[in-house]
């Protein structure tokens, strides 16, 4: 018998990978969590049936969501990560000695517990002294914060489940308030490729653009995600993502990355026409 895991990318498109063993399965208060071992993608995390993290290509996502803002403002001291219970984003952030505090807010405690146990490749740095983990609804956590962070990273799952509230205008506005005057907001921005996801891409961009003076998106290629073509949002109160990029300074930090580099940084903001059209609609 063969075991296959299928991620339903749209009603009409599926993406399947062979699995060797189901490592963990748990129905948490929030969602169904599964962890599988696969020959092609290594260990993978699946939430409510949707693929979240794979051992093989998570580095792309986590490097791009982290190093792009850090290279624009290397003086970031206080960071808030919303979602991201697998710990991958935190792992990248801990590479910066200059960062003083990282608050991770994850609505589902079980994701963090299972990640600590089964996904050491992403979760290992959750025990860094600078990291505090809060198990709370992201929207609720940020509501109480005012000018406390230099960088907020929204590392959410897609907007059709528990993360729905993290794609709303009230959430982005609340993040604006929680950021300092030169704060940056990065968010997981979905894929622009399939029609069924386009609306959330466009709406998220529209909601962010009304709150932040600088607002754009950048892209990368993530093989295991729907269509492989993935976007992140870059919004800030002050910094421009390319004009304010200090490549020399970032390169001097000597941070080891497998996907990100400062040339790619510039290129990532060069968008295909269909994406430009979608955002301007």
């Amino acid at each position: 018998m063969e075991l296959w895991y299928t991620d339903q990318h749209t009603d009409d498109v599926r993406f399947s990978m062979k699995a060797s063993v189901q490592v963990a399965s748990k129905k948490s208060a929030v969602q169904q969590i599964d962890i599988l071992d696969t020959p092609a993608y290594g260990r993978v995390l699946v939430l409510d049936g949707g693929l979240m993290t794979t051992e093989k290509d998570e580095f792309i996502y986590h490097e791009m969501i982290t190093h792009v803002p850090m290279a624009v403002n290397p003086n970031v001291k206080n960071v808030l990560v919303i979602g991201g219970g697998d710990g991958g984003t935190v792992r990248e952030l801990t590479k910066y000695r200059s960062i003083e505090s990282i608050d991770l807010v994850e609505v589902d405690k079980d994701v963090v517990l299972l990640a600590k146990k089964y996904l050491p490749f992403t979760s290992a740095k959750l025990k860094d002294k600078r990291v505090s983990v809060w198990f709370e609804e992201g929207l609720r956590y940020v509501r109480g914060k005012k000018a406390e962070y230099d960088l907020i990273i929204v590392d959410s799952s897609d907007p059709y489940g528990p993360a729905e509230g993290l794609f709303t205008r009230e959430f982005y506005g609340t993040c604006f308030k929680a950021l300092r005057d030169d704060g940056i907001l990065i968010n997981q921005h979905e894929s622009p490729f399939y029609y069924v996801h386009q609306r959330s891409v466009r709406d998220a961009h529209k909601h962010i653009a009304v709150e932040f003076p600088v607002s754009t998106v950048y892209q990368c290629h993530i093989p295991s995600y729907p269509s492989g073509h993935w976007l992140f949002g870059f919004a800030s109160k002050k910094y421009h993502p390319i004009e304010d990029l200090d490549a020399t300074r970032w390169n001097k930090l000597g941070i080891r990355t497998r996907y990100y580099n400062t040339d790619l940084h510039r290129g990532a903001f060069a968008l295909p026409n269909y994406v430009k059209d979608l955002l301007n609609k």
């Binding site: 609804e137 940020v142 205008r169 009230e170 506005g173 609340t174």
Partner: protein, 481 residues
Amino acid sequence: MTLNQSAVPLADALDAQRINRLAHFDVPAHKGGRMNAELPEYFGKRCMELDVNSMKPLDNLGHPVGVIRDAQALAAEAFGADNAFFMVNGTTSAVQTMIWTATGRGDKIILPRNVHRSAINALVVNGAIPIYINPGRDKRLGIPLGMSVADVKKAISEHPDAKAILVNNPTYYGICSNLRAIVRLAHQAGMLVLADEAHGTHFYFHDELPVSAMSAGADMAAASIHKTGGSLTQSSILLTRKPVNPDYVRQVITLTQSTSASYLLLSSLDIARRNLYFKGRAIYQKTMEFADYAREEINALGGYYAFGTELIDGDAAFAFDRTKLSVHTRDIGLAGIEVYDHLRDDYGIQIEFGDIGNLLAILSAGDRMMDVERLISALAEIKRLHERSAAGLFDHEYIDPSIAMTPQDAFYAKKRRVPMKESVGLVAGEFVMSYPPGIPIVAPGERITPDVLEHILFAKDRGCFMTGTEDMNLDYLQVVG
């Protein structure tokens, strides 16, 4: 068949009918949706197949002798009433049936002025005479409360010939009068007590909620199952107790009821009743927890005031319905309707209504915590982005009426059209209200005072959805004479 609360006799009979695959040579002509493929595509095939008309095994709402009778008997038992009537024209039809059962032309009925328009409409039709009690008013919030017992006592002694007293249980904002005391006074004076429970269905299913009309001893109650009880929109239940004669009530209902009552609506009442009977307590427990949490978080934002049981004063605010999330917005310089518009237009959040100084959000067990968080955060954002000075905001939702003639005399009088702004001193021949909440600012037969005009113009200016007048733009008013 022995009946118990786990049965849904009407819903089961309707479904059996669907499975039987009868050849239909009766109305409706869509015949299970086959006449127009767009209908099943839009509504779902099953919904279309359930949309049938009255037939032998499905009983007849106008003369129930089978499954409708049984379903109504179960509803009566679940609500602690002697009789229950399924209604298909909203709680409007239940309120009107109560009034038409209790009064005829020239009879008096005591009622608070902050009733829903359906009650005064009933008087326009049957010519009964309203004896208004001015509701208490909360000074800070500007909202009308319930009736004080002393005012009820006074009205009864001044009008001992009145036939009935109508009570909101609760008001739209969730405030209750001392219903037990009012029932005692009314019954001593030989008057019936009619309860408008459009917003109180849930009182029957949780002991920490205010007392329900039937357990307080009221004679008739209009319970809007469709608003907070989970049945389909427009379905409602009328509850009665002895000595009200159920056969007379049925006759009154059939005066205006459709002879083709929707079985979708009726069966939804049957299913909602069973659900409430078995799960009502848990459902409303969850609703109260959502509302209590939201109140606490909204009050922590500052500026907003999400009011609750602290309003209770033992009299005109005798009890408060904790499932209601009513928020006073005037202190952030915004009318409730302005916050309502921001929520809808900027944040994609639909609430029940916003009026001049308040907004109301309806919570239910169907909500999700993340949506409650969205509402709270959106309110925080609206305050951050739009807060302004509260100066110049109109500060009361309720104005004591100045009555010149009965609603019926005014509505059917010879009328003329005058510009709204020139209507002060004249007697209105029609209603003006914002909907929701649908409580008339002015009703037929009432004199327009400067306060009333100011209220109308302010509400219109702030974007309230104004209704009632012949003139769709509300620039003109029909006045008597």
